[in-house]
Amino acid sequence: MNFDFSDDIKAMTAEVRRALERSCNMAEVRRCLEDGMFHPGGLISKPAWGVLAEMGVTGARIPEQWGGSGLGMLELAACAEEIGRVCAPVPSLPSVYLATEALLHSGTDSQRERWLPQLARGEAVGSMCFAPIDADGERLTARYAAVPAGAVADFLVVMSADDCAVLIDLHQDGVSRHPLRVLDPGSPMAELALNAVRSEPMNCPAGSYQGIRNRAAVLLAFEQLGGASRALDIARDYTLQRKTFGRTVASYQAVKHLMADVWVKNEIARGHAYHGAWASQTNDPALPLAAACARVSASEAFEFAAREALQLHGGIGFTWEADIHPFYKRSRSTALSLGSSREWKRRIAQLLHRQHMTIAHEL
């Protein structure tokens, strides 16, 4: 039994953490959020994105021949937790966990050649939509209502549930972008209207659609886990320092028990996230169920941690100056990317049912 990250991975993430804490402190996060609120769409924390590129995180899974680090899912998962810890306003989900993975698994040689080196260097941003593809030859006309990082993305992968995918270079005529005002400006979205744009088919093996969603769910779970443990840290620090009725706020049992419950949910989510990372790395048949459990438990843990951490701040928690609102916002936006917990829970039940019937059949 060795259900933990290796010392090498821990050393690597410790460095990523230090670098992110320097480049993406809460002042930087607030600055980005403020920017995003008044100038919707265009936002990325350049210092944070730069650190992630420099430390090989944007290209973690990209083979060295295309300028990446050639690392595994475990390494990327461990780094994702650090991205979540600082609530970094960066397009990690659309670009690193989705578009890059799609290219790695389903890209043609020329598509890889073209995009992977830029992705590894953090110079290009990709995004991805899950939608039916209705292309007329190589020309695609479509409207995507809310594309993550849609205002800044250089290319878009559209994948349908029947494992078809196309890649669209977003720097061409016929592409119009409308940045949207969103509840979490740290995860910006834009409406994309494509008018007879050139779309390049990709090579999707069967199972690509669910496979990529499973792996992205695991990686996002690590971000959520990072956010959840940071939210608990923030709540703990604040209530330890704040006094009311002549006592430290953290000394009230109602407050202690709430934080204990947050810790419990975080621990459960951590086990599932590790399991998901292991199953992604080894491509174990347990992946679909492990990914769904990681997704649901991390979404719920992060939302609970952020919501209750805000509550424990009292009135100050509702102000722009407090550090907790970016986490509250991120916990909501990450819970809805890739589909809500409701959808994933039904998937868990389906997978369990299928598993049960198979076992019953074998007996």
Partner: protein, 407 residues
């Protein structure tokens, strides 16, 4: 990252499997124990036979040093043994407390004579031990016990006379010895006035009365002490040092990682729901997923604990998570399943190994398990204080002599 046994672990597991296959009886259903169906005394006799077999092979106390009859093994090996044993008929409810908690305390605080006289007999199931800690007025607040021990004569080495009442004592009715926490000095603050003894349960003045529990069964006891004489030789640790000894006992309780509570699992919930064809209902599907996430999440948490153990750390307060989640989850699951089945689920299922009887047993026992061995509230305090480092509860009796605390 992997879930496989290390080569040493795999080898140990293979040895255990081989031994069990040669010595144990196959299990007919999940709650099938040695001596099932026999009258209580014959059942106990059968359990002793199995215990002696285990002891002779070293499996009765895997982590004990070899000089005490153990294997000198690691906590992981202990768990591997338990995992393998759970596939066979074994015993439950006779020896766990003695071997898991009382005897390790005796080994830590007893003298050579104690170790020679009591350890082996307990290991082989010849003598059974119970733990006499909780009292009617002291459960969560264990240091508030009132059972009074006085020296018979005011001199060093004099016998002690003990009066008072213990409660929730598992196995007192068939125990030979008990680990007994007493108050020897009520004029000092509560933790300072305690002293630990062990007592012969056949002593004059001890009366064991079964407690009738909520569900009508009797598994625990009240134990009344009236002028019970205990030789000073049976004192463990110094006079007034009982709290430290008790903490040692409770620490050993924590080492029993992975002990099954015998409640309904998410897996059995799945069987029930699949058989009923309810899983297509989205609300049912979501509850199924919630239950699965908790059960599977605890299994994975345990995998992380074992990983930490195998790297040499000791089980810490993080272990509180197991019972805290499991007991509440069991209560929720059983209630949910009964809701689905409707009023008919209130009719007691007489088939004791059926899934429905397990739902009903879980509904009853989950209420107890949220209290026993640390209430949900105490466990949250432990997590808050010892894991998260939050301030300790304000103790209004702190520093006040025990006999001056308002009761």
């Amino acid at each position: 990252m992997n879930f496989e046994d290390s080569p040493q672990e795999a080898q140990f597991r293979a040895t255990v499997r081989e031994w069990l296959a040669a010595n144990a009886e196959p299990k007919r259903h999940p709650r099938d124990f040695v001596g099932d169906g026999l009258p209580a005394d014959q059942r106990l006799a059968a359990a002793r036979v199995w215990q002696a077999k285990k002891a002779a092979a070293g499996y009765a106390a895997v982590t004990w040093p070899r000089e005490f009859g153990g294997l000198g093994g690691t906590p992981i090996q202990h768990l591997i043994y338990l995992q393998e044993e759970s596939k066979w008929r074994s015993t439950f409810g006779y020896f766990e407390i003695g071997i898991g908690m009382c005897l390790p305390t005796l080994m830590a605080y007893g003298n050579q004579h104690h170790k020679d006289r009591y350890v082996r007999t307990a290991l082989y199931g010849e003598e059974i031990w119970c733990q006499l800690f909780s009292e009617p007025a002291a459960g969560s607040d264990l240091a508030g016990i009132r059972m009074r021990a006085r020296r018979e004569r005011e001199q060093e080495g004099s016998d002690w006379m003990v009066d008072g009442q213990k409660v929730w004592t598992t196995g007192a009715q068939f125990s030979d010895f008990g680990l007994l926490l007493t108050r020897t000095d009520p004029t000092v603050p509560k933790h300072a006035g305690l002293t630990m003894f062990f007592v012969d349960m056949k002593s004059a003045g001890i009366e064991v009365r079964p407690i009738r529990q909520m569900a009508g069964e009797s598994e625990f006891n009240e134990v009344f002490f009236t002028g019970v004489r205990i030789p000073d030789e049976q004192r463990l640790g110094p006079v007034g040092g009982g709290w430290k000894v008790a903490l040692t006992t409770l620490m050993f309780e924590r080492l029993t990682v992975g002990t099954e509570l015998g409640l309904l699992t998410a897996q059995s919930m799945l069987s029930l729901l699949a058989d009923r064809g309810d899983l297509s209902d989205p609300a049912v599907a979501e509850s199924m997923a919630d239950a699965w996430i908790v059960d599977e999440g605890l299994r994975l948490h345990q995998c992380r604990t074992l990983t930490a153990l195998s790297k040499g750390s000791t089980p810490g307060p993080e272990q509180s998570i197991g019972k805290l989640l499991k007991a509440r989850q069991a209560q929720r699951m059983s209630t949910f399943l009964m809701d689905l089945a409707g009023q008919g689920s209130l009719v007691v299922d007489e088939e004791t190994d059926s899934l429905w009887s397990s739902v009903q047993r879980t509904w009853n026992w989950s209420a107890a398990l949220r209290i026993a061995g640390g209430t949900d509230q105490i466990l949250r305090n432990i997590i808050a204080e010892r894991v998260l480092g939050l301030p300790e509860e304000i103790r209004v009796d702190k520093g006040i002599p025990f006999n001056q605390v308002t009761k």
